[in-house]
Symmetry: C2
Subunit: 156 residues, 2 copies
């Protein structure tokens, strides 16, 4: 038991985001802001390939996204409006329309956790870097009925 706990890929991970994909991110973000009384978030545009090194299904992609964040303490609602393609965000939107795309966990070593998750039937679908960290999306739909995101923040 102790051994299994020590090797779990999300051991001590912090559940930090519920990620929505939306065709019109500003509309959905504005609606959540109105209902919660939180400030209407400004969009953040993700970097292009030259900075983000975005890989989708193992292949470089020029896809980006507009992100909107609403913070609720430990956990944030992230709203993602896909810009360009291909990406896991665009795939989700084409298949499902607006909805909950992923839940995100902050981990100490995203690559190591992703390798263990892949061995558990939850393979990588997209990855990239951002100012201050890196992310990996995993196709958890079959095993967990939702995608996972791993977030690894570099020390400041």
């Amino acid at each position: 038991m102790a051994e299994q706990r020590s090797t779990a890929p999300l051991q001590n991970a912090t559940l930090c985001q519920i990620g929505f994909v939306a065709r019109d991110g500003a509309r959905l973000a504005g609606k959540f802001a109105r209902l919660t009384g939180l400030p209407v978030p400004e969009p953040v545009l993700t970097d292009g390939f030259e900075k983000a090194h975005t890989l989708h299904r193992g292949t470089p992609t020029p896809a980006t996204a507009k992100l909107f964040f609403l913070n609720f303490g430990q956990v944030a609602i992230e709203i993602i409006e896909p810009v360009g393609a291909p990406s896991t965000w665009r795939e989700f939107l084409d298949k499902h329309g607006d909805g909950v795309h992923h839940i995100a966990f902050t981990v100490g070593n995203a690559d190591q956790s992703a390798a263990t998750l892949a061995a558990e039937g939850v393979p990588v679908v997209q990855s990239g870097v951002f100012e201050g960290g890196k992310y990996i999306y995993l196709e958890g739909e079959k095993e967990l009925s939702v995608l996972l995101e791993l977030l690894e923040f570099t020390s400041p």
Copy 2:
């Protein structure tokens, strides 16, 4: 602005749950436990109508559910396996299969928040009581692309 914030139905609400519906709750709960290193949760069976006073679309229903909780600090993953019908859980399962059913907020006055949300296009679909509190589900799919749950806990 100050006035709008003071009347927002989810003003100061705590985002406390991500709720999944699953055909086999024990399987999904076991998988999350294995990947996070958390204890495998025991199922909690919700009360029948005589105690829970469950209303679905305004009508009493005998539907219940098996619940499994995995706690991540402020927020829990709740996994719901519908037992009987009709319920919002069964409707979701029939329409979508396993997946994220709702996000839940703890509020001070669930009825008051629900009335305001209904006026914002997010109507009530199901409600009930449990030992220590009450819940109300709202059909947020059109406006928010997810259902909402309001949780109101009575003081101990």
